[in-house]
């Protein structure tokens, strides 16, 4: 604080914009006995499209709440857009747009009224508010529905209204909590396209939490959260490259015995994940042939494929992404 007051405002502004969008160090958050975030540190660059990937209960919503200034971290510090999260909260809030998982638009108000209320909370009023609201409504293709009660809109349109309210005050950082939950695949694609467009044209930094692999693939970088810790942070392609080549998944009536036999005879370590044997091999198709030749009778089915982000998750944590759900490779329609 004392140091920054000595710097002229101009210099401070350039300093600020040179700072990363988010710098978090040692964040911790507990709900009673349960640790939701357990010492998380990371940096998100300006203009980055960043995804926080993890299963439900992995801590990503808690991290979203911290970044969006909904709750302060119990331990650790964060600087967001050059502001100290705890000390400059009000100033910071003016520059962040937030899209919640549960709707925050009021169903009993029209689209236009929702936007107007939101704008006034950010100190916008009169002609300036009308101008901005008109513009954002048009950009998001909501002009014809501006007079409709929000509760009468479809799920996809409601999401767009959420996004419109979050963008009304021209935020530099947009934070979204599972933005495509409840959207059909087409609406989800539209929504993601618009976010990408926003980043390209306005340079808005985007941070979203997700448990959709498809959504995570669209990010510049992904932070993988597991049990409150960041187990990896890298571009999706790099994460997939960490998995050793192809993925072979084997179903068997007695997977444990088969695992031992494969280890003995083929000198290959298979991981047993939720009753399925998983093998990561550089040349997966050769392994498939060999393993079927050797143990054909004991195998019920074999699946072979290039690694997905779900495989990355299993590789990193030894857990399936959707614990307990058999064959739960998610193609986006889990909800």
């Amino acid at each position: 604080m004392t140091a920054s007051t000595a710097i002229p405002a101009q210099a401070r502004a350039t300093n600020e914009s040179a700072e990363p969008a988010v710098t978090a160090s040692g964040l911790r958050f507990r709900y009673g006995q349960r640790t939701a975030i357990d010492g998380v540190s990371f940096t998100i660059g300006r203009g980055e499209f960043f995804g926080l990937l993890g299963p439900n209960g992995g801590g990503k919503t808690t991290l979203f709440k911290i970044i969006s200034t909904l709750v302060p971290p119990q331990e650790g510090d964060a600087r967001i857009l050059g502001c100290d999260l705890r000390r400059d909260t009000l100033a910071l809030r003016r520059r962040i747009g937030v899209v919640f998982q549960h709707p925050s638009v009021d169903g009993k108000l029209t689209v236009g009224e929702n936007l107007a209320h939101h704008g006034r909370l950010y100190g916008l009023g009169g002609a300036r508010l009308r101008e901005r609201a008109d513009k954002i409504v048009e950009r998001l293709g909501l002009s014809e529905r501006a007079g409709d009660l929000a509760e009468t809109l479809s799920g996809g349109l409601k999401r767009r209204v959420e996004l419109a309210t979050a963008l009304l005050h021209n935020p530099e950082l947009l934070v979204l909590d599972e933005p495509s939950t409840g959207l059909d695949p087409a609406a989800r694609r539209d929504f993601l396209n618009y976010l990408a467009h926003l980043r390209e044209t306005a340079g808005v930094t985007i941070v979203l939490t997700t448990h959709y692999m498809e959504e995570a693939e669209r990010c510049d970088r992904i932070g993988v959260l597991h049990q409150g810790r960041l187990v990896a942070i890298a571009p999706p392609a790099e994460l997939k490259a960490r998995v050793g080549g192809d993925i072979v998944a084997i179903n068997s009536r007695d997977p444990e015995t088969l695992r031992r036999k494969i280890a003995e005879r083929m000198r290959v370590n298979a991981a047993l994940v939720d009753g399925v044997l998983r093998v990561e091999r550089p040349r997966g198709h050769d392994f498939v042939r060999d393993v079927v030749d050797a143990f054909g009778d004991e195998i019920e089915s074999v699946a072979f494929g290039k690694p997905t982000l779900e495989d990355v998750f299993v590789h990193l944590t030894g857990h399936r992404f959707f614990a307990g759900a058999a064959g739960a490779r998610d193609d986006g329609d889990a909800q």
């Binding site: 003016r94 925050s104 638009v105 909370l121």
Partner: protein
């Protein structure tokens, strides 16, 4: 200052707009106390004359200001219930991450809830002749002003509870346990003067007693009235206003704690 007014104003307007779009709420808040008053008053007026009631007044008339406060209580409380759910999965989420201070949020909510409570209670004033009260313009204005103060205080109590608890079921329990007894013990049902000594003390310690007493006296403004054990008008107003300020401070503090920032 300008921005605070804009922010509080928009929260106030939202409460009003929502309310107007829910017809059943509008009608219910007014009708329920009206029915209670008519039934209780009509049933008890013949046989029931509590000790300490001013001479020449019947019980129907005595109950009337009490039920004005009940209208205020019901509407104020129902206006604040939504806070519980709204802050976890509704409109208030967005308010909490907006650049608005917690006291400003509470001002907007309290003014909104108080307005919603105040309007039906003013309509209730029209019924004064049926209670046998001949309301002059001055008395009506003074009563309406007093009702606004009471409405604000009751809304703030509701908000303090709503920001504290996690579920609406909890809200109903607290309302029945705390708010209804506060109303019963405010002199709405029987005069302080006639109550047993212990109850008299509890009633004197109840802050709502003073709002109730002030309202009762404003209704007869300009007439010579026997106080019947009521505190003087000036004293009652001072306590009622102080109570409104205190409940606001409590609600603002609770909201601040609940959201931690």
């Amino acid at each position: 200052m300008n921005e605070i007014a804009l922010q509080a104003g928009t929260l106030w307007l939202r409460e009003i707009t929502r309310f107007m779009r829910q017809r059943s709420r509008v009608i219910g808040s007014f009708l329920q106390p009206l029915v209670f008053w008519l039934l209780l008053g009509a049933g008890l007026r013949a046989s029931f004359k509590p000790a300490g009631m001013p001479a020449g007044m019947d019980y129907f008339e005595y109950l009337y200001p009490g039920f004005i406060v009940l209208v205020l209580l019901f509407t104020a409380i129902f206006a604040t219930i939504s806070t519980v759910e709204d802050r976890r999965e509704g409109f208030l989420q967005g308010v909490l991450v907006a650049p608005i201070s917690r006291p400003t949020i509470v001002i907007g909510q309290a003014l909104g809830g108080a307005t919603l409570a105040w309007v039906p209670s003013v309509i209730f004033l029209v019924l004064a002749p049926f209670a046998g009260i001949h309301l002059g313009l001055g008395a009506a204005l003074a009563a309406a002003l007093m009702m606004a103060v009471i409405a604000f205080a009751l809304t703030c109590i509701g908000l303090a509870i709503a920001w504290k608890i996690e579920s609406t079921q909890g809200f109903h329990a607290i309302m029945n346990l705390i708010l209804v007894p506060i109303w019963l013990l405010s002199g709405a049902f029987w005069p302080i003067a006639g109550a047993p000594a212990v109850l008299q003390w509890i009633m004197r310690l109840n802050p709502l007693t003073y709002g109730m007493a002030a309202l009762r006296q404003t209704l007869y403004l300009g007439e010579t009235q026997a106080l019947g054990g009521l505190p003087s008008l000036a004293f009652a107003i001072v306590i009622a206003v102080a109570f409104a300020i205190a409940t606001f401070a409590l609600a603002a503090r609770t909201a601040k704690r609940a959201t931690a920032f």
